[in-house]
């Protein structure tokens, strides 16, 4: 078994690294990765994204007819991995476009996917509701069919990016009498449709603002209200009442990719580099045996996360049955992120509490902000508890819990 990259893949990685060195700083990358943030310079983001697109590095493995490059998944992974190190997503993961490619009409694929790749269109995910928490199938937001239209009434919660998205990828209940997983439909709704109202929710990362590159450092999320929002049936993704299954497939594919595990591994790399170079008032961090042991342990765990991602990539690349692997990654990587942020806070001692802007804050307080953000990663996009249940059922053949 040979785990080496091919010479072509190594050359691609070098080319991407050179481009990043010449065109981006970590701060710029972090800001671009947070295009959803308030005050983000979207024009600058678009210009750089265009330049990256001209290199052929956006959505490499997506079909050419919809704006991708028609390339292989491993090449995309290499490019994703390098850009993720400077906080920028280039693979299209988490964008909603994966589900459109899987379940959309030809017209929807041609309309949405190229614009999503170019950064001209974006989706926020209208899943969670105030009463539901992680129990997504309990959603109550209603869409009632009326001829060639749906009328939507209800409310969504923790809708990150609703303030900067062009569309909402909305899960709504269309058949309240059906078994709860079977009465749900996905609608792709423009955010400027009359009847939509957005209420900002400021997060713990807002004051003081988390520095660029923080794990889940978004200072804002939203509530979104729908009152008699009327959309044509052409907004529907896939068949009516099949939204649960379309959404699950899209989410599982969204979970595959470099960004998920790198969110956690960034912290390991950053703290290792910091420990090598820093001394806290003459105390040499890198010479402390407890610190060295802990960093080695984190690094080993990070490599397990990476290998799990590579395995998923390989399954997707070979068109094999992809069932529980994304869920398994979604347990391992976020929990590693939490372990890492806690370990780092122990290593830094009282310095770990100093937030951005505080006197003496280490690296603009990023580790303190990471500690606050890491826990979120075990909840959003499918909680680790739900993911474990999926691994038990789909991977181990256990009955539904």
């Amino acid at each position: 078994m040979n785990f080496d990259w091919t010479p072509e893949q190594e050359a691609l990685r070098k080319e991407v690294r050179d481009f990043i060195r010449e065109n981006m700083t970590k701060r710029l990358g972090g800001e671009m990765g947070e295009e959803m943030e308030e005050g983000a310079d979207r024009e600058r983001s678009r210009a750089l994204r265009k330049k990256i697109g001209e290199k052929g590095w956006l959505a490499i493995s997506w079909p050419k007819e919809y704006g991708g490059q028609g390339g292989d998944r491993m090449s995309q992974y290499i490019v994703e991995e390098e850009f993720a190190r400077v906080g920028m997503g280039v693979g299209g993961g988490g964008s909603g476009a994966g589900a459109i490619l899987g379940a959309g009409t030809e017209e929807q694929k041609r309309y949405f996917v190229p614009k999503v790749i170019a950064g001209e269109m974006s989706f926020c995910l209208g899943f969670t509701e105030p009463q539901g928490g992680a129990d997504l199938a309990g959603l109550q937001c209603r869409a009632v069919r009326d001829g060639d239209f749906y009328t939507i009434n209800g409310q969504k919660m923790f809708t990150s990016g609703a303030h900067n998205a062009t569309h909402i990828y909305l899960m709504a209940r269309t058949d309240p009498a059906a078994e709860r997983h079977r009465g749900i439909t996905i609608l792709l709704v423009p955010m400027d449709t009359p009847g939509i109202t957005v209420r900002p929710l400021w997060t713990v990362q807002n004051d003081p603002p988390a520095p660029p590159g923080t794990t889940y450092g978004m200072g804002r999320t939203n509530e979104v209200f729908f009152e008699d929002v009327r959309v044509p049936i052409s907004c529907r993704l896939g068949d009516e009442n099949m939204g649960w299954f379309i959404g699950a497939q899209g989410l599982n594919l969204d979970r595959v990719g470099a960004s998920r595990y790198l969110i956690s591994v960034h912290m390991d790399e950053d703290i290792i580099n910091w420990a090598k170079e820093s001394d806290l008032g003459g105390y040499s961090v890198k010479d402390d045996p407890a610190v060295r042991d802990k960093l080695a342990e984190l690094w080993i765990e990070a490599q397990v996360c990476r290998l799990m991602t590579m395995r998923s990539m390989s399954i997707v690349q070979r068109d094999q049955d992809f069932t529980y692997e994304g869920s398994a990654e979604k347990v391992m990587a976020p929990e590693h992120g939490v372990t890492a942020s806690e370990a780092i806070s122990q290593i830094l001692g009282p310095y770990a509490q100093l937030l951005n802007g505080s006197e003496g804050a280490v690296e603009s307080g990023i580790y303190a902000h990471n500690l606050m953000g890491a826990f979120q990663s075990g909840i959003n996009h499918g909680s680790v508890q739900i993911m474990r249940d999926q691994v038990a059922r789909r991977g181990l053949g256990m009955p539904r819990g």
Binding site: A162, T166, F225
Partner: protein, 69 residues
């Protein structure tokens, strides 16, 4: 004016709903400091904070009865 069924505070429904801005792609925004709301069994309820609304969602009948009394 409405009354928060959990904490009893008076809430200005018009202020909760008043449009104070717009998102990057055209959705109206409201001021979150004015409170929030929830449509429950045909009626809009208004709340001072998300905490109040979460308590209400956990046991709506308890708070509706309490407010009525």
């Amino acid at each position: 004016m409405a009354r928060d069924p959990v904490c009893g505070k008076e809430i200005d429904e018009a202020a909760v709903r008043a449009v104070t801005g717009q998102t990057a792609y055209g959705a109206p925004e409201v001021d979150p400091t004015k409170g929030t709301r929830r449509f429950h069994e045909g009626v809009w309820y208004y709340f001072d904070t998300l905490d109040c609304r979460s308590k209400f969602l956990a046991s709506p009948d308890t708070y509706i009865k309490k407010a009525a009394s």
